[in-house]
Symmetry: C2
Subunit: 425 residues, 2 copies
Amino acid sequence: MSISEIAKKMKLTSPYVASSSAELRNDALRAVMKALNDNKEEIFAANKKDLIKAEENGISHAVIKRLKFDEGKLYSCIEGIEMLIGLPDPLGKVLLDRQLDTGLDLYRVTCPIGVIGVIFEARPDALVQISALCIKSGNCAILKGGKETTESNRTIFNIIKNAVINAGLPENMLNQAEAHSEIDELLACDKDVDLLIPRGSNKFVSYIINNTKIPVMGHADGICHIYVDRLYDEKLALNVIHDAKTQYCAACNAVETILVNHSVAAEFLPKLYEMLAGAGVKVRGTKEVAQIIQCEVMGEDEFNTEYLDLCLSVKLVDDVKEAADHINYFGSHHTDCIISNDATAVEYFMETVDSAGVFHNCSTRFSDGFRYGFGAEVGISTGKLHARGPVGLEGLVTYKYKLFGHGQIVGDYASGRASFRHIDR
Amino acid sequence: MSISEIAKKMKLTSPYVASSSAELRNDALRAVMKALNDNKEEIFAANKKDLIKAEENGISHAVIKRLKFDEGKLYSCIEGIEMLIGLPDPLGKVLLDRQLDTGLDLYRVTCPIGVIGVIFEARPDALVQISALCIKSGNCAILKGGKETTESNRTIFNIIKNAVINAGLPENMLNQAEAHSEIDELLACDKDVDLLIPRGSNKFVSYIINNTKIPVMGHADGICHIYVDRLYDEKLALNVIHDAKTQYCAACNAVETILVNHSVAAEFLPKLYEMLAGAGVKVRGTKEVAQIIQCEVMGEDEFNTEYLDLCLSVKLVDDVKEAADHINYFGSHHTDCIISNDATAVEYFMETVDSAGVFHNCSTRFSDGFRYGFGAEVGISTGKLHARGPVGLEGLVTYKYKLFGHGQIVGDYASGRASFRHIDR
């Protein structure tokens, strides 16, 4: 069956999944936990095939680390599912309960989004996590993993799918796409797929955003900034920048640009340079910066660079206003931080910087669903609609309006024979 | 200046509008009210020019009615602004207040979306309403009205813009596009425009959805259904269908298709036909329907027709399940109603029909922001992300995460030197 035929079937299935009980969805999650555990040797064997092929193909060590699925990763996947089961049902929450008139009752009630397409690069654990989130939230999901994990994905997917069907959920709730060509097919299913969640490199996510009419939740760039203000704590600044750049430099929430207030540049830059050099971080800076410390000179137009590596851009600014303007212009609206002890400057920064996360005196690396306490994370969104920043379960639900009447007609309200009361309960 | 240059300037202005106080925004709304009233003769004169041109061009009576801007429409616009001023500030609401750890405090706080492009067909009052909503919610707006109201729009826009600037809001908060070619320019501004709100015909909205990467909030189709179930109240059914079809048949929430349970077709269809014929409504139906009442025979594939006129499709179904499946397949996920006294069927319908509005025993015409008590309405969304159904002020806000720390770094939490508390307040 083609992806478009599968998507059409899933669209028709989605209302039945939406109306499934929380008990049934939690039972399905329990069945998935058990099945993953019962069949772990099969999973590890499939994963071994992927690992052997990856080594034959000379795939980088970093990628191999991500595609490896061992006892530890299985355990944390199972732990994640257990936590999801414990969370309250995200569906059926009454967000508004309003009497429009006597016997005319309006409710706004949460419900699943419907059919979600998830496209991710090499990470078998992402398949488990996202399937579990979709089961909990009553969404149908079409999953497309990277080709490097074909064997692992196929095995894990079949285990999950069988467990879900056996628990009593519809057969078409979960489907997998395997061929690379199916990505483009999926991107064309705008009539049947309600949301796409891509997880992967900048280039990969950009391709998806630029080639579909389906709404996309995610982020391509993570160009995060730290601004060191006039009044600042030097030790704190160095410590936070060290963490934000080196704790895991390939993450989207790692810092890429440091903005330093002119008035403290002469004292702070040499210390910054010393710390960064000691951590193996390469520094690139404007001409002004190069007059104070040793660095590669960069052009103003290069500040939209996401290094994802041990490298950093540095620029001087006159004040918090210039810092905010720079961030709003060059940033990716992901996460940006001010290091300052000046309450006025901090407030200005927090209000004016137009990013999903605005931080004060702490590392940009905190921008993450698990660290925010959301439990499972769908991903981080730099878009402004629906969900912004780290997105948990609530990013996978929408709502519908239910109106219960007793024969009321609009004509009576238009003519004045009846009038609205609009009483919230 | 080109639209893309204007959009870029507005993008940079938007954080300043976002951080403006509720007092300033309400003062600006008061200034707009006063200015509209003070300059009403100028507005009426401009509107007269548009009306004369419209009559010269033989524009339909319905459109002329919409583009006319008289004392009554001005009064209801001013009344709408007064109500908006009275509403609580939609910005700065704390949606989440969580201590991640001692001295590491996370807040999710509402803020404006940023730059909104509004494209609407002939309706000067829409310009006033949407400008007012953007002022209240701290959004920048680029407004593009229909060419039939060029003179009215220009006059009203300049009055609003001057009032807003005089009140102290940034000059680039509101801008107008006048040339038709500027629509395509605006659709290409996906780097700077955060949201598009189109208001107009199906064809017009579809064009916009299909030609931009900017998220669009609105609806193209309004194919609403009423399903008459096995157990039903005949008088109620006829009354509700009469209202849903004839009270204002050009509205998106007017009914287009009636589904009737097989078991009541023989008794109900003749009465339905009599009522509809009396109201001047043309009936189209399947072959089965044509065996019971006089009607134009239609094909199964024509049920995706939005008449927006005194015309209706009729089909027989076996049960509520078949009705829901038909609606989910052929509908536009706008508003659909069940007429039934069978609680099980009603619950099934309300859960399973995947529409922004699911109604029981009342007219589909209630699907409207004013009738829901939202005050001003941005429009009705058939999309599932961000806002669904009638959208009020809250559809124009998003949120950001503010994290306040004291030098915390992720490395300490990763190594176990520190651990998260995640305490909600």
